[in-house]
Symmetry: C2
């Protein structure tokens, strides 16, 4: 049965995690194909806390491709969306849904249009790699609808053309984006180094930092760095390859000391390259610096890293603790310095709120009774309001199909986004 | 006549400028001799606005060497002071003061002790290279008292052993500190590239930025950078030598565009290396970043640099304008964003206050009537209180002997610091 005009709507829904790089990607060697100047390594975050959910619907009644992000229609005309749509369409196969009596032949996909609705379970503007989760989810879910059989490596390569770091969100756990050598980008793919079960003690606390500044987009920022920073190529060619090897070894052996030292050093070096750019790019602010100083002083006083920190293209701190004990100690220090502005502890901690109990923080009275961290030199300094909220999370799995109809973002009858 | 116990006091007073590097010194290859990992270039500031004044007195009645800094006695036991005293004493010559009937033979200097009083005409804690002016002045004035005949190159090499950047304060105008090759430091000296008259249109505005953070001392900071920053040696060996050549050319030809681009890029790269250090060092704060963004946006909107900025080991901005017109325009933008907290315009501008009239700012009403800079995207942002005050200055001359008795800091009868 060939595709004909009809009322049917075929749909799939997927959910993809976000990821945070511990060896940073900064700089493209090919802008159009999004090919990086160095390998990078990331951890995938629990999609229950930070993820994108995307529904892709197809129907012969759709006159054009359309997309809605967080309930608002956005244009699909950009090259990044078009690249992903084209590459997945190219690989589309026959699809048969016996229950609905739908059969789509491989060649029909060129004529069919899609409706895409996507939603992030965390603020898009918070600078938490929403585009990584978003493009990974778009490619994954388009692939499901169109019955694409290619392996995850190839999917990662397509997601890469939407947003570089999206290729790393195709897997859970620890992921490496191999820069590749080929000019066509065919070998610039992500591979999984270890799944999320390999090192499941790790606890991740994100401090969402209030920012008044308009930030430089990472796309234009890394273009400026490639064009103007004398340090960028040296970092990419001489420093990162060695760090990647050491980081792979640290992950393999669950060596937190090495993992933490590499993570912090590479975050700082990425921001150093940003500062070496003309015009210089400042993603971290005074609050970010204070969080780093707090962690560094603690780590120094213990003689070995208790917690790692890393910052992407924004002021938010991503803090990685080796276990819940250290995460709870960290939280005590953080809440001493950055108490909630509105005295509402519950909404100040998002994600795994149970970490508050681990830290003995069951009420605002507990927060107010916190002693100053012993290693702090000016213990009277508190910065209420400088952190918007915290997220407590952990490592998580890669993209998954969501089968519950209630979770779908598109109405299977109208083919339009559900009313929220 | 040999030196005998007696009541006489012989004294000299000198004044030395501070300097600000436009190609930065960051990292020693020899800690004891203070030998740098790269050449650096600085401008000497007008000693009328920023300088150290030092009186050195000698008397057979002094039982030991003593020093007072800004009226408070400080220890001379540190290696840096001892190096300067030893090196100057080694080169001391016969001194005869016929009026006072004093004759000191060369060999007497080993037995004679000195009293030193030094005073900075700007806040020591403001991070404005007070040690550069201070050690240059100490060496210069000790040399005058002890009739040292060595050339300024050799004096700079002695001042270097007190504080690295002090060697550049031995000259006025534009100064290069040649890193040298010898292990004994004998060729690590400063040379004058051009005197202050060579390019006398330049106007220097310093924003003294309020800071709550305790800063890392530059001595320990650069030690950490040398030991831990993978970018520092690459900068020192590969990037700086080329920049030094270009900067010398820019100064020679009074090419402000090139001068400004090199100055800003090198300041940013120095701070990049600080950030690449473990633990990372943050000398600039949000206010510093805002000043950079303000200048960068202006420069970009004009297509060519209107003003250069450079930051040393602290949050203060040193802004260099090619002429009074640009300095006045800069001041309008700065005072729009950073109005004085206490409504006292006169004490908000130190040094050459006449720049306020050039900018049409004769009262607080004029400041309040300032329009938002056209290139600003969020024109409603004002940061009252984030700048403590401004200093307007220019290029200046090297160390000078101060002959007026009233300017001496030591009482020529008691041999002790004058009551202030």
């Amino acid at each position: 049965m060939a595709v004909e005009e009809g009322q049917w709507v075929l749909m799939a829904t997927g959910r993809s995690p976000t990821n945070i790089a511990v060896i940073k990607y900064w700089g493209k060697r090919d802008e159009a194909l999004i090919l990086p100047v160095n390998d990078s390594i990331s951890v995938t975050l629990d999609p229950g806390h930070l993820s994108a959910t995307t529904s892709v619907a197809v129907s012969p009644s759709f006159p054009s491709d359309r997309m809605w992000l967080n309930g608002k229609e956005i244009s699909l005309s950009g090259g990044r969306f078009q690249n992903c749509l084209r590459e997945i369409r190219k690989r589309a196969r026959d699809v048969e849904d016996e229950k609905k009596g739908i059969r789509i032949n491989k060649e029909d996909w060129e004529k069919l249009h899609v409706h895409i609705a996507s939603y992030n379970n965390f603020p898009t503007a918070a600078g938490l790699a929403s585009s990584a989760a978003g493009f990974a989810c778009l490619v994954f879910t388009l692939g499901k609808v169109m019955n694409v059989m290619e392996d995850y490596g190839e999917l990662s390569s397509i997601a890469r053309q939407g947003s570089g770091s999206a290729c790393r969100s195709i897997y859970g756990g620890f992921v490496k984006w191999c820069m590749g050598k080929n000019n066509d980008g065919s070998d610039s793919i992500a591979v999984q180094l270890a799944d999320e079960a390999h090192w499941n003690d790790l606890v991740i606390i994100i401090a969402v930092v209030s920012s008044k500044q308009k930030e430089t987009s990472s796309t234009s920022g890394m273009r400026d760095s490639v064009e103007t920073s004398p340090l960028l190529q040296y970092r990419a060619q001489t420093i990162v390859p060695n760090r990647v090897l050491k980081m792979e070894e640290a992950i393999k052996s669950r060596n937190f000391e090495s993992f933490a030292r590499l993570t912090c050093a590479d975050s700082n070096q990425f921001h150093a390259v940003c500062m070496d750019t003309s015009s210089p790019i400042f993603y971290m602010n005074d609050t970010s610096h204070r969080i780093i100083n707090l962690v560094e002083k603690w780590n120094q006083s213990e003689g070995t890293p208790q917690v790692a920190y890393t910052f992407d293209a924004g002021p938010n701190a991503v803090l990685i603790a080796p276990n819940r004990k250290n995460a709870a100690l960290l939280l005590q220090k953080l809440l001493y310095c950055f108490p909630p502005q509105d005295h509402d502890l519950s909404s100040y901690m998002v994600g795994d709120k149970s970490i508050l109990s681990d830290a003995g923080l069951n009420s605002m009275e507990d927060v107010e009774a916190l002693p100053a961290p012993a290693e702090m030199k000016t213990p009277n300094q508190k910065f209420k309001g400088d952190v918007s909220y915290f997220i407590c999370s952990r490592l998580g799995a890669g993209p998954k199909v969501v089968t519950e109809e209630t979770q779908a973002l598109i109405d299977s009858v109208t083919g339009l986004p559900k009313e929220v």
